[in-house]
Symmetry: C2
Subunit: 563 residues, 2 copies
């Protein structure tokens, strides 16, 4: 094996110099390799000459910090992979507390998409956005700018992508502290005149048909960034508190889901995206004319999950505290602004915990993520405050700071019955609270303070919730928040095997299907509790966005699964 | 509306005292409310008397920090939700650098599951684990311990859940620095003698049939914690570098996926979990005997996503840098230790970036997450090093510290052709590298150093990869790592509209299906690049776990979607 001379052995000792030993392998590759001898950034773009000046410009600006060329003698096998460096984003200039003033006098280069272009007699104003923040970089161009012919010829238009390099200067305008006095501009990609997102405001309905372009608007860019911040804050909160993220399964053939309508997942129907002409008789059937599930991928009917909770409980009763954060599905034919067929859920589960722990955790969680976006997404939140929901910052600050109130379902019903308000739906002990009731409680009765309603009648709640001593209610809780109504629903779980089995019996559910769920009560059962939170509802709550279809990048609703 | 007296108005002024105004509502609820007047923790458990002493014990131990009872005069409507506090977990004692020595002399209480029990003549040793770390808390019990009768009677057995309270003392044994000298024990949940996870080692195959209990074993507990750490490190890496997490859609009716076999998602088949007797003729059909897709939920055939990349590109070309982290699906009938039908993918996409940026990002990412688990999961990694894969810590340290090597596909082929090794599959320019080739390159030729192979023949790569100037290869890259082979695959994307359309034509793909993907090249196209990483492969790489079914909580494979 000639180990002493093998690349492996030599590389382990001293990675670099010994690479030369490999040169014996490298002859055949030189032809191809020369095509990589240009400086790295965008070296093989079609407009190479153009871009080489870009690169040079970028490098001497001292800002576009690309890695150096790896110093490697020609003709050897294997180069080092370069260092990963962030390019300069607009958020790093304008997203700072000084809004960029600290960079005045610096020579920088930015890349992004042209939002607007105002050509005046002596000067052209161009707003460039790169999506890293709401703010555009205002670029000021005179006719002396290198590459200005592309502006004059109309090639640089709304929607085009550009590289601009120049000096940061204090801005004359009142809208921003700094602007870029451009020295050089390069058009990266033209924008066809049919570009649907021009300056004039377009409706959100229209933009849903352009879901691939809508993140280039102020609103959807801001929603995407705040959604991201909420997701990361979610992970941070649970990780800081010792919870383990568990991926609950998406496809399940388990018989014990059953909350809501489910999508069937199958390979019995030939999966060709090319044609929709699928003869029904290609589906395998038994002699009795039944679908032959034994030939399906999983050997039996399988569905998309409606909740990861039951699976989450298996990990909570092993690792103590866990949370799931993944997609869930409902095949409900509800064409409303509050429902999606595909949405993301966060479902924490706490072991050795009761309903009080559960409510306390849900409260701390919500306050944490709200505080996180108020602190970290100031510009986007100001935007929502001005354009989407006036007062949202106050509403959220309230949530982050105020104590949350809890009251029993029975008290809530009492409160609603005494309310000086006409409701569309009647209020009666034993009936579920409607959205109008929930919003009255949190918005009016408690003045915008989130309210946790607990101890609901057992007949309107799920089988797994823990029965209270009164025999009539269960240790369930719903957190109600202004504007959205129910944002979080949770419960202490029934950990007593005999109670749980009796409950399954009384609901005529098949205990055999729940064998593994019951096992958790058979082997070292512990008090435990958890809650669930629809992530898009949280995004709505935190941004003021009205329609839930605008709170997720690619909404799935009845009749619509485009993109 | 009597606004001045309404709860809303008063609460806004001074939340607490004014709550008394609400007392007029509260009469009817007192009966139910008294059942909540016990101290909070586990107040409504069946063994209440028992647990009240537990609570008292916990409280005076000064460790089980439950929130105080909310001081609230009786008969008012609405209590404050308590403060969320973490209970003491074993990781907080034994997971510290001093392995608990700093707590010697402290009175504490822990809760968990009994792993083993050794009853000796004068003393009983009980190992309790709560899943927060690998270590058990060794508990030493004499016959004077309160609640010892439950040990004597055999109620406390392997798998049972217990609450134990006592004093931290230095341990006599060599396996741990401290142990708990128990004063009081309470059995929370018995374990039926049929408990399948007894001390004797059981096979991983057997444990797959007990996926709901296997996280209670050392191996699967450790895998779950390291998996969690890898996921969080993934989010941290991308967030720290300004990437936005985007949730790409799971269900898609878009025609431009097509990589690999897809699962069909439908509501045409009645979704009853109760019975598998589904007559074929319940599926709606047209007059021609075709499946009537117009009656399906989305109005046309819909599938589970095989990749979020194309959707990710839409957000990258608006927000600059994004990443997805979500489930993806392949309906391939591969019953191997390397394939899952449902797995999690991480797919970053970088705007204004080329293949060099892509490789640099993938390298930095992998080194970051590996360093994260080496730093943060020491105990679990030591466990893997001893019991799962000897030398894994060295292997991973190498990855975290060494420079990664890149070489072209052409060079790689040359290297393989000159290798003094017989391969099962032939090596030939134009053919894809097989796992044996990939492992030879990274494990032998480069001695355990990850290798990035780039510039593959275009005919073996996807349509969207950017064509190199040679006309024969594309700007693709695969990162090969020891043991696993290909861990990451990525490419620079074809951003030139004419090239992309020509490529679709030459592959006989329908351009209309790709309208929105092509739009990204029509309106401000930018050079961009990205990569994909199967998260379970990463878990295997980082833990040494052989079979991918053991790297995810609930594996889905042909014929198997239990739990």
């Amino acid at each position: 094996m000639a180990a002493a001379l093998s690349p492996a052995a030599s590389l382990q000792l001293r990675p670099y110099p010994t690479l030369r030993l490999l040169s014996l392998y490298s002859r055949a590759s030189t032809t191809l390799r020369t095509s990589h001898s240009l400086p790295p950034p965008f070296r093989s773009l079609p407009r190479r000459r153009c871009l080489c000046t870009v690169i040079t410009g970028a490098l001497y600006s001292g800002e576009r910090t690309k890695r150096e060329l790896v110093e490697k003698p020609r003709g050897e096998l294997g180069e080092r992979v370069g260092e990963f460096r962030r390019r300069l984003k607009i958020a790093e200039i304008k997203g700072k507390p000084d809004e960029g003033l600290g960079r005045v006098g610096q020579s920088i280069a930015v890349m992004g998409w042209v939002r607007t272009l105002r050509v005046q007699s002596s000067v052209t104003f161009m707003e460039v956005n790169d999506g890293s923040c709401l703010s555009n970089m205002q670029c000021v161009l005179g006719s002396e700018v290198e590459g200005y012919d592309q502006v004059e010829s109309g090639s640089v238009s709304t929607g085009a992508s550009v590289w601009v390099q120049g000096e940061v200067v204090p801005s004359q305008g009142s809208k921003q502290k700094v602007e870029l006095k451009v020295k050089k501009i390069v058009l990266l990609g033209k924008s066809d005149p049919s570009y649907p997102i021009q300056k004039k405001r377009v409706s959100k309905e229209f933009l849903r048909t352009k879901a691939h372009l809508r993140p280039r608007t102020n609103t959807f860019g801001a929603v995407a960034r705040v959604r991201n911040a909420l997701a990361f804050a979610t992970h941070k909160f649970f990780q800081e508190n010792g919870f383990v993220w568990v991926s609950s399964p998406i496809i399940t053939a388990s018989d014990c889901e059953g909350a809501g309508e489910q999508f069937c997942v199958t390979t019995l129907i030939p999966s060709s995206g090319e044609t929709t002409d699928t003869p029904l008789d290609t589906i395998p059937k038994t002699n009795n004319g039944l679908i032959d599930w034994s030939q399906d991928f999983f050997g039996k009917p399988a569905f998309l999950t409606v909740s990861g909770q039951l699976n989450g409980e298996t990990y909570a009763t092993a690792l103590s505290d866990i949370y799931t954060f993944g997609p869930t599905f409902r095949a409900e034919n509800s064409n409303t602004s509050r429902h999606l067929a595909e949405f993301w859920m966060i479902e924490p589960e706490l072991a050795f915990a009761d309903l009080d722990d559960d409510m306390a955790c849900a409260t701390a969680y919500l306050q944490y993520v709200v505080r996180h976006i108020l602190d970290n997404c100031k510009e986007d939140m100001e935007f929502f405050n001005t354009w989407i929901e006036k007062g949202i910052i106050d509403r959220l600050s309230n949530v982050a700071e105020k104590d949350f109130v809890q009251l029993t379902y029975t008290d809530a019903v009492e409160l609603l019955l005494k309310a000086k308000k006409k409701f569309e739906f009647p209020v009666k002990w034993g009936c579920d609270l409607q959205s109008e009731h929930e919003r009255y409680i949190t918005e009016e009765a408690f003045g915008g303070c989130p309210v946790v309603v607990r101890d609901y009648p057992k007949d309107i709640k799920a089988f797994y919730m823990r029965q209270n001593d009164d025999g009539k209610t269960v240790a369930a809780m719903d957190m109600l928040v202004p504007r959205v109504g129910e944002l979080i629903g949770g419960s202490q779980r029934e950990e007593r095997l005999d109670y749980l089995e009796a409950r399954l019996d009384s609901l005529n559910l098949n205990k055999d299907s729940y064998w593994w769920y019951l096992d958790l009560r058979r082997y070292g059962s512990v008090p435990h509790a958890g809650f669930g939170l629809g992530f898009e509802r949280l995004v709505q709550f935190a941004t003021g966005i009205d329609n839930i279809r605008d709170a997720i990048p690619f909404p799935r609703t009845p009749g619509s699964a485009e993109f």
